[in-house]
Symmetry: C2
Subunit: 398 residues, 2 copies
């Protein structure tokens, strides 16, 4: 039973998703009106907004506004990529105290969970009572513990639809086409391109994931073989591919405050591989590269319904748990029930179990060095939900 | 009154659109069962398929297959980028004669219309009677005579939705973001990004079109001003921008058989501009570039309803005109009725009026050197139809 009374504060952090505001609204709607809750506040730009005391009163929003915001992509509270120092975390706790923040929710990925974890350590040290919860989100799907991450299903639907279309494009105007997909550490999102393979000759014909060391030489041999077989070749490449020992394929030289190298927001990897194919397999080949970029995480008006519902429920679960008071802190995760029917239970784990580290694709989902096993389809299909499937002519002969 | 009896042949040519198969199905469903028509055939890969006599019997397809194909992006007959020589056109006419092709429909852009025009000249020379029609399609929207082109509305909806999402992304994680949009000669598709500007501070904050000479120096000054004003800057850049006299900004060195330089399928222009901003305005700035690429023309399961209906009707109009026999050849165009209500009349013009040349945006749609006039919204809104509009929090102060 909770007897902790005070204000609720919510922050969003890291890269956007199409359903990150569902989680925000799930927290707000569960908090508003609860006995223990005075006001429901939002920190603009996450931890940066906390340090600057840049708060807005989200508890005053109408349900109509909240519903409209819920279906809008990208952090409505605005986001941040900032790893606070220990001193900043101490200052953040002072701000909590000053504003009587007794419930804090941080929506984000593994770096965000780490910040929440450190804030919690500082709160314990200072003996400041605050319920502190991490709500998962990432299109990369690389958080530990949870079956999958809110945000992934919508991004996977985008990637699958992009490949379905580009497979038709490549079939219509044959050539070699490289599509670079987001995913810094893990290949989950790139693997979702497998959903586009409906017919035996459909692309992607090759799929390269960060879980397998990449070699330009093997890549060229693969492309040559597929191009010879199909007269065309559609390739899915994760932006996170690397050589043995994590050696980057190319290096843009830019690093964020969490030590992550800049991968997205540039066509460099695709163009590099495209040039390698032209140099290695023949100048006359029609080789093109597209880098899907931010569209994967923020395209407006296109999401997975399942993903939206789950993201909302993750937010509600965090607020309910905070109010129940059985645990002072934690991270929400989704557990998939075994059996044929897709069912998710919403649970809580320790912050430290989700902080910092990332989750690779299981080895059973990988197929050789350049493909994804079909068992992955059983995993990913329910997360994406209904999706448009292209059709072809029968090609009846004369 | 038509007394010309024989087979119908259909081809698709040039870059894909999301509704190019609506036109195909519009022709097929109007042809099948007509008294004058024996069989309804498709040439695979356009003029290349004609020369190779690579035909399929599309008249045998079920209505269910046709409807499924109609909503599938990219040329179901498969496409080609080939400008036939005079000799090849003569050979094509021999093939027509051999297969008693009396009705030929070529779906494509201005290069496709030119091929149809030459085929028609050769037919007249040879005194071979064939009804020869061009059905317009291009996401570039740069065909002469017609109010707009089938394929443009869907691509414009994609670009507008991409910018709506990316504007939220840029607002959420501020920085300088450059998005490169398709459009070789004309800025129509890039201008559609204007639909994303709902609030006064929404991006795109700058829009660069091929209709206005581009200068890197002015570009940097513009970005600096906007970034200072908004603390962020979202920029729409047409892939077709160029310096005075058509001087390319960068040159990939690749040219197709119509003499067109390769622009798409590479992130080079975006990365070039991104580097210029970092060099010119400060190494510490967060600058990213995305090149939307083929997604704009082939993304599966996302189109404008109006565009789909109009593309279908353009196909039907061509077949109806061919059967009516009032004119032996022509190109379908759409005329917009004056007045507040959007209404389109489907008409025919001479092939030579559409062949080869392209249509720039009218000067009245341009605003200075880096923006689009709001009058363009009246032009483009009906073509895009219903579109998701993002919402924001009210940012109520404490």
């Amino acid at each position: 039973m909770s007897s902790l009374k005070g204000n609720v504060l919510i922050g969003q952090s890291g890269g956007p998703t199409c359903v990150i505001n569902q989680s925000l609204v799930g927290i707000i709607e569960t908090a508003v009106g609860a006995d223990a809750v005075d006001r429901v506040l939002g920190a603009r730009h996450g931890i940066a907004g906390i340090l600057a005391e840049d708060f807005i009163d989200v508890g005053k929003e109408s349900q109509a506004t909240l519903e409209a915001v819920a279906v809008t992509p990208c952090a409505a509270l605005r986001s941040v990529r900032k790893k606070p120092t220990r001193e900043e975390c101490e200052k953040a706790l002072d701000v909590f105290q000053k504003h009587n923040i007794r419930y804090f929710f941080y929506i984000g990925g593994n770096d965000t969970a780490e910040t929440a974890h450190i804030l919690n350590e500082v709160a314990v040290e200072k003996s400041y009572e605050v319920r502190l919860f991490h709500v998962p989100k990432t299109i990369d799907n690389d958080l530990l513990v949870t079956d999958h991450c809110p945000g992934f299903g919508s991004a996977a639907k985008f990637v699958a639809s992009a490949f379905m279309g580009d497979n038709q494009d490549n079939r219509s105007l044959p050539g070699i086409k490289i599509d670079v997909v987001m995913g810094r550490h893990a290949g989950w999102l790139t693997a979702a391109s497998l959903l586009a393979r409906q017919n035996a000759d459909d692309g992607p014909h090759l799929i390269y994931l960060p879980e397998v060391d990449f070699s330009v030489e093997s890549f060229l041999a693969d492309v040559d073989r597929m191009y010879t077989k199909h007269g065309r070749c559609l390739i899915a490449v994760s932006e996170g591919i690397h050589g043995p020992g994590g050696e980057p394929i190319i290096n843009t030289g830019e690093v964020d405050s969490h030590g992550n190298v800049q991968l997205s927001g540039s066509g460099a990897l695709g163009d590099f591989l495209s040039a390698k194919v032209k140099d290695g397999l023949g100048k006359g080949l029609r080789v093109r590269a597209d880098t899907f970029g931010y569209l994967q995480r923020s395209f407006a008006g296109f999401h997975s319904e399942v993903d939206a519902v789950e993201a909302r429920e993750c937010g509600r679960t965090a607020m309910r748990a905070a109010l129940a008071g059985d645990r002072p802190h934690g991270s929400v995760f989704m557990e998939r029930a075994s059996g044929a029917d897709y069912h998710i239970d919403y649970k809580l784990t320790e912050l430290r179990n989700v902080a910092k580290e990332t989750r690779d694709m299981e080895a059973s989902f990988l197929k050789g060095t350049n493909d994804v096993d079909s068992s992955f389809l059983d995993y990913v299909r329910p997360l994406v939900g209904e999706i448009f499937v292209p059709a072809r002519l029968s090609d009846f002969p004369l």
